[in-house]
Symmetry: D2
Subunit: 349 residues, 4 copies
């Protein structure tokens, strides 16, 4: 940490800062400038936070100079991690060597629709099946998902197609039942800062897919991952899904730069959700291509056998020609940026 004193600060003001820092076992290095003095702090950052240095007389500003997250940081864990998803029979990797394609319906509606979507996903090359049984909706009058019945339908579709399944959990009270039916637990964009839920999935013993809050900075997102990691679960995959900006042409603005930024600072894998970012199916294929090329460790995409009747986010679900085009991109582009399809790296016990 660096404490910047204001030009009017007196020697007593400087001494007060130094005394306070030393009082919690830290060291303070004073650099007296012509206009102002700066003080570099060395020691335990958490203890410095409690000092409220910003409230002391003569203090103009306090800069933090190191990352606030630890377990998910690449600093002490330089190699990027691979997270394995699935039961003993078949595990699919998400990590730096592979490219993992996840697909499925936004919401689980019926056994037939879910199985059809799972078969579409598998046919297009997906190796993990997605689908929602609990849907957080802005309106209390919108379809909220089938709950436990949806979990069962999704698990059946996963078994029928041989794909591990990932599904969202929206309430800490549901973590146990979701973990019974799913291979990976998803925390959605609206719950990224629901710290009780983060802690609960951190203790559930299953890998977690953590979507970025639509208005969270990358640092806040990594702090949310730290909440999960702190409970003993390092099998966290991050998912960039668009942030809120002033641009109305897309539902959210896909922050494609977040992928290399995260990879530079955290060892966790990071994937992209082009469907929810754009909210428009005509953008899913180009954004998926961009995600592959930028170096994402995977993508997660909405598919639906009949988007016109979908109970949730129909306008962004792929089928037919667009899905074929996506399948082709997923088959060809990853190798152009040094990736192997995750299906080929799957392991069986």
């Amino acid at each position: 940490m660096v404490v910047v004193m204001s030009p009017e600060a007196t020697d007593e003001d400087v001494a007060a800062v130094v005394a306070r820092v030393e009082g919690v076992g830290g060291e303070a290095f004073v650099s007296k400038g012509v206009v102002r003095t700066i003080i570099g702090l060395v020691g335990d950052i958490e203890s410095f936070h409690h000092l409220n240095l910003r409230t002391l007389r003569g203090v103009a500003d306090v800069h933090r100079i190191s990352d606030p997250y630890k377990l998910v940081s690449r600093q002490h864990h330089p190699d990027r991690s691979t997270v394995w998803v699935g039961a003993a029979g078949r595990q699919v990797p998400i990590g730096p060597d592979s490219f993992t394609f996840m697909a499925g319906p936004c919401a689980v509606e019926t056994p037939e629709q879910t199985l059809a979507a799972a078969q579409m996903a598998k046919g297009a090359g997906a190796t993990i099946l997605r689908g929602g049984a609990y849907k957080p909706r802005t309106s209390p009058y919108a379809f909220q998902g089938l709950g436990v019945r949806g979990l069962e339908i999704l698990a059946d579709a996963g078994r029928a197609t041989g794909l591990p399944v990932v599904t969202e959990v929206v309430d800490a009270r549901d973590v146990e039942v979701v973990a019974e039916h799913a291979d990976m637990l998803q925390v959605g964009t609206r719950n990224m800062a629901n710290f009780g839920l983060l802690q609960a999935v951190g203790e559930a013993g299953k890998p977690v897919l953590l979507k970025r809050g639509m208005t969270a900075t990358i640092e806040e997102w990594l702090m949310a991952a730290e909440y999960i990691a702190q409970r003993g679960n390092l099998d966290v995959v991050l998912c960039e899904r668009g942030i809120r900006t002033f641009e109305p042409a897309t539902r959210n603005t896909l922050d494609i730069s977040a992928v290399p930024v995260v990879q530079a600072t955290s060892h966790l894998p990071v994937i992209v959700d082009p469907s929810h970012a754009a909210g428009r199916k005509d953008l899913v294929v180009p954004l998926s291509r961009a995600a592959i090329a930028v170096g994402a460790d995977g993508i997660i995409v909405d598919v639906h056998p009949d988007p016109e009747t979908a109970l949730c986010d129909g306008p962004q679900a792929l089928l037919g020609a667009e899905l074929r085009e996506l399948a082709q991109a997923v088959r060809r582009l990853p190798s152009a940026v040094g990736r192997v399809d995750a299906g080929e790296l799957s392991r069986t016990a």
Copy 2:
């Protein structure tokens, strides 16, 4: 709803939209233009949403033309509501006729600190005591609050000063215990879209203070209030606390316009939190003045007997001269805009 057809749409495309709308019992009025056709829909909006009209061939756009919230809307409830907070012995109003000043420490730390802050609050004219026992923090390493013990300390300070208390609840599993100790339940900015929590506080039988999500639109905020109202609880007070923008000089940007915008569309009371919006104590007094003048139904402010040692948000807590200046503004300004101090309107059983 209005469906706008693309210039290339055919008569069959238009007929398909009409047929689908009529299929769910709606009416469709077709206006054929020189360049394009528009179709006005009349009937049950929820049923129209399931039609996914946007996915039909020839449809360029679909505009919603009425508000998606109902119970909190002023449309069927033109008079603005007053919410009463407190037990039978003493109830404080929040509503269009009064101006309600709430104050207290950001976090409950010790009985002594809490009581001292409560006395400061009361001395400055506050009629409701705030204080946090459960603190949602970005870092898992930061102080997370005292939990149940904090609730007890806060309730004691409320009794000692005769002030009703409001405190935050961050997890649906804690709603019951918080409702036992507090007169009003606060849902914080990070949980505005935690729909399970909203439903739980909607059933708790206590008034709710609903902070705006720091990145929520006003419409989303009112939809969150609708979640609470839908569970039978219409005693909801909205709290504007700043939104996330690109401006770094303040922690968030206080959206002062939100106050009259909300008052024009919803009957619920709306107050302002200048402390968390700015994150700087030098702005609390001017922003409080602005809140009073714009017509807010109240403010909620951080005070602390010793900000330098505060475990949470010390830099924004008031004391001494600033608190006296605030007290003066709260005493004088509301009458200049036609308000009476809430303390004078309090009622006892």
Copy 3:
């Protein structure tokens, strides 16, 4: 400036930074921490910028620790300034002791409409007349203003009512002619970073009203004022007019906090434009009240004798009951926050 080295930086890396700083006459103070080293720089900041320290090996970050603006900063000019607008005959102050109400039509359309609006403005208590002869419009097909003819009409209306006039200049080539007709030159939100125009108005010998770029930080806004000041013109009045955010209920989000933030860091006067911020006339009165209460040095408001036929921004122009309500607020509220109406402080030669 503070240079933060990365944990992997070597002693040679540190030495290279020090050498470079000393090479341009600066001093470097090295603080070696357990994890990383920080280097405090003292000397001429401009020369340090050219060093591109961020590109050196081992450098993790570079923090600026003092304000980049000088002439407009309060640091060397602690007293807040008053800017006087008008010709020798009658000068109106804008500054810390007064409250200045400016009003007029968004666009000058005809002599009759402009005179009528000027009389409305004066009747409501305005002491400066606003009106646009050059209108920057998003669409090339929209009304672009009357140009020189508009300047003449506006000047006539100013003379007829005895009010000094302020009008926008959008092109450096027009500065001379605008300065001939107007008492104050306005630089609009879209031109805040049009540096050639800023320099031109800096040399025009008339006070300048500098609107904040709708997406400019406060620091960038003050840097724009610095461009004007650097050309010898310190008669700059800043105008907060809303920033671009994700909230669609208002055209822009009025950043009311910007007023006290600017007043804390710059000695220049700062006013508020509630009409353009909100884009809705029902918000103009409450936002004007908030502006007065927060401590703004004035407001600037759209009025029009017939908003339904206005060629520009009709939906936000006041008349009738709303204008009377505003007039009342302007008459009463400023004294409640220690201000005198600017009209009473006007001086005549």
Copy 4:
């Protein structure tokens, strides 16, 4: 346009809207709903704008339902355009069939530095040389460019390497001299809404590179292109260069979705500037790859022979290994998405 009446609107209110629309030669189709009435307008949109329908009694909202730009729209010009840059001797295409790589120094500093950068650019496969002689800088104390001398140096470097040159013009008064020395005129992000400048480059007879305003919507950006087109110049290339968001990890947030969004609505070519979007050289290669994969018609990248001494934006300039990596991506990836290198399609008279 669609006019939505409020639920309280009377038949007279509806009749007043209809009368007004018919008064300017338009047609109005009334659809009476159970709750509210909507009116579809057919005719000349510009004339409807002047009606200020939003100010009429009983009008709740007015929706525009078609694009406000015409000349740059794909609606009447479905085939995507190719813009040719360069003199008769050698012309380089930017358009749907090719991929165009532009590179060069952010600022022209000396003949040696510029020539070295031009040779680096050419060596890496660039076919157009970029370089700034007029630099719009936030600070009046920062390096502002060499002006005319810079133009000469850049033109010399272009001749020496056989590359056409593109350079920024920041003031309408400089358009003529810039057009004498450059093959393509760039309008920078800060000047996107400088309408006088747009009109001036629209009349200069050279192709224009129009950067997106860092806070402009895509629609506003296309309206700016319309300003240029309206003066007779359809040789406009759009350049996405990042937008302002709340994320601090990158200087701006590259809106990669803007590329396919623009291509769906406008026939103009669109390229990407990863250097200025990110402001970090470690992101330039991955973002360039993403730009190619998403379908951009080209990229423009900062290179510098000695970034440590660069007078402008040194931290983002490439050299050495990174430039070789970029060269490889530019050579290989475009063909994977169906593009040919622009160099191969160049034409000579």
